[in-house]
Amino acid sequence: MKTAHSRFKEFFENFYLVLVLIFLYAPIAVMMVLSFNSSKSRSQWGGFTFQWYSQMFESSAIMDALYNTLLIAFLSALIATILGTAAAIGVNSMKKLPKTVFMGLNNIPMLNSDIVTGISLMLMFIAFGVSLGFKTILLAHITFNVPYVMLSVLPKLKQTSKYTYEAAMDLGAGPVEAFFRVVFPDILPGVLSGFLMAFTMSLDDFIITHFTRGAGINTLSTLIYSEVRRGIKPSMYALSTVIFVTVLLLLLITNFSPDKAGTKSSPSKGVQTASAGSKNSGIRQKILLTAASFFIIAAVSYTSWRHVASSHSDELYVYNWGEYIDESVIEQFTEETGIHVTYDLFETNEEMYPVVEAGAVQYDVICPSDYMIQKMAENLLLAEINLDNIPNLKYIDPEYMEQSKSFDPQNKYSVPYTWGTVGIIYNTKRIEELGVPAPTKWEDLWDERYRGEILMQDSVRDAFMVALKVLGCSMNSVDPKELSKARDLLLTQKPLVQAYVVDQVRDKMLSGEAAVGVIYSGELLYLQEEAESLNLDYELEYVIPEEGTNIWIDSWVIPYNARNKENAEKWINFLCRPDIAKKNFEYITYATPNQGAFELLDKEYQENTSVFPDTSTLTNSEVYQYLGTEADDLYSALWKEIKSH
């Protein structure tokens, strides 16, 4: 009877364990499967491939980022553990009041949202004239890591009896010896899990790293986030798989190696093993310590050596969207001009702005969008481009120089790089099933039959652009009456919307999650090519709505504090060369304003009116303008009303 009961209990416990492990590892399994997926989409299976693995090892960007990530995680966790453990012991013997104050302060990095911590640290570094780079990331990581160490160590310390420590002292041990031989083994599991926790938090952090890093330094997180806009390359999944398998193997080897079998079979429970093997492990600890310090010294000197090695006389710091250039173009530029390029990525205009405004990193050339260029110019963040240095400007279609005037009236700050429209993408099969005719205008996005099938852009301006166009107003309206009408319209649409998304439109449309979506025309070629190669049983069509839409232009600008202005102009001139612009277009598939390059393109591309619409049909369309802080506040307040409804 008793055995049946305990057997049942054991079965139940196993079942529970397996369930939790499945929960924890299901997404990892998904990532591993995706790393062998020949399609870039995260929602469609395109066939088995190893290509992402070879791409991963070949990519110096990924390997550098991996190296930086691991080094920062290791160093910050190590320093945080030492600081945190010492502090935990100190705080444990404090009186109540100072203890409360101390713990309150300690928890601040955990209490703030990351973005607040990140920006405030960046402001402080700049205020004190610390140049951003590897060391600032490290300092920031240590700061947010220590609280996690303390939270792991403190409960352990509370469990230790102070009498053992006193007993050790009474028996003739010095305070240091007593600590390391009596207290430390007791709290060691807490210290170790604190270290691990700190290491983990550091590996995973994105936002704080983003704001405290300097030029040319990427961690895996910042690299991944910069890829989000154009779709995450499966090489990232491949890398995750490799890391996962390596760590798991190491873990299994160290845990089930024969020399540990002895301690394992001993009946001692759990953490007692830490103290049980303490005598034998003395030598092992010393070896470990030596190895660790060797690793640190080697890594740090390698980093500084690389820093010295990479400082060239002729340099250029480029700040661009992720996946927004054919990388061979950068190499070609360096070959032809001898200028060494440090290439950095941002994910949104808004995220780029404070970095430039604060002068945190001095970039020489940046590629923001229309309204942001106006904002930067108004806030005196831009330098005039010397157009004499850019003879290739003659290849840019005058049409786009004209369009640019709406945000750069004298064409003196910016040179167009890519352009496009915003429109509706729809799934031909799905709308047939719903019995709805193909959409032709924005108003169709209010059709009741699309309930739960609409993907809207999660961006204030784009969402209001749609509503304002339906109302027949300008998308640059600052009239509170028009805007509240637009808000009401968007509120009535919200029940029909499946999700407000930015980058997931791609994957969600490819997997047939939704019938219609609002999308940038630049995504189109990628989507259509992907849909074709996956042999989907439906097609994705794009339409520019009748009411008119947003024409957006991303242009190169030179910030006021550029240190290599002439090199920046060489860079812009180089990118305006027709053969280079063509190469770039074929890689990024966003329409090029370069007439010379357009003429070189395949007919198939030239005739694709979704990507290169006849601009005369875009009469009602506009370019976004910067509306000033007051209007910005109004837009974001109204948007919050919609989102929180």
């Binding site: 995260r42 302060l105 949202s113 920006i119 429970k269 830490a274 997997s511 047939g512």
Partner: protein
Amino acid sequence: MNKSKNQFLAFPYIIWMIGFTVIPLLMIFFYGLTDRSGNFTFTNVLAILSADHMKALLLSLALSTVSTLVCLLIAYPLALILRKRNIGTGSFVVFIFILPMWMNFLLRTMAWQTLLEKNGVINSLLSVLHLPPISIINTPGAIILGMVYNFLPFMVLPIYNVLAKIDDNVINAARDLGAGSFQTITKILLPLSVPGIISGVTMVFVPALTTFVISNLLGGSKILLIGNVIEQEFTKGSNWNLGAGLSMVLMVFILISMTMIAKYDKNGEGTAF
């Protein structure tokens, strides 16, 4: 004598905190209590009273409380089983739960999208088994799931750490004195593991309250949490003053919740807040 000596060990970190925590904090206060032109104002702090912000804050509090409770309910039995099993060594257990977190946070959360979507992996499996599909994506349920998934290790580890340290003899003594398994848990293990629970609750509740990525990716951005509001003010609305003001309010809320939790720590030995 000895106690006061130990206190000095906290000094390096105190200096560190002044440099990297207090000064940035003052900067947030500065932004939160001024308007764009630098004049002193309380508007940014009082903005929390507006209907939108209040709603976002209450929703965040509700969702993070639920996820913390779910985490606790999953983690406690798990930690008990792990303690009993003594699988390998302590560090092995720790690794098993921390390992998923070594894969990038964004990639993992996007993988959940692939799992949960209408045409996702789970629904495909269900349709093979002729079961009705689930439609959890873009709901508060999906956000809670994402929070539990991401923060569960923070609950398991501290509790496991504390439980593993409890002497077996204590439990045997309880048994000898006639306590059943249930009584052993409620009367012995539970009270002894309070510090671990408090650590765990803190480490889950706080990040859950301030998250914005999870609600964006799994909630379809249709659900506005206070973290989203703050993030939006900093990155999209570019009104840092309002963002800083709201973060100050959020910090106060977190401090209050933590004090309330600490009250349950009757022995007065929990983490001091």
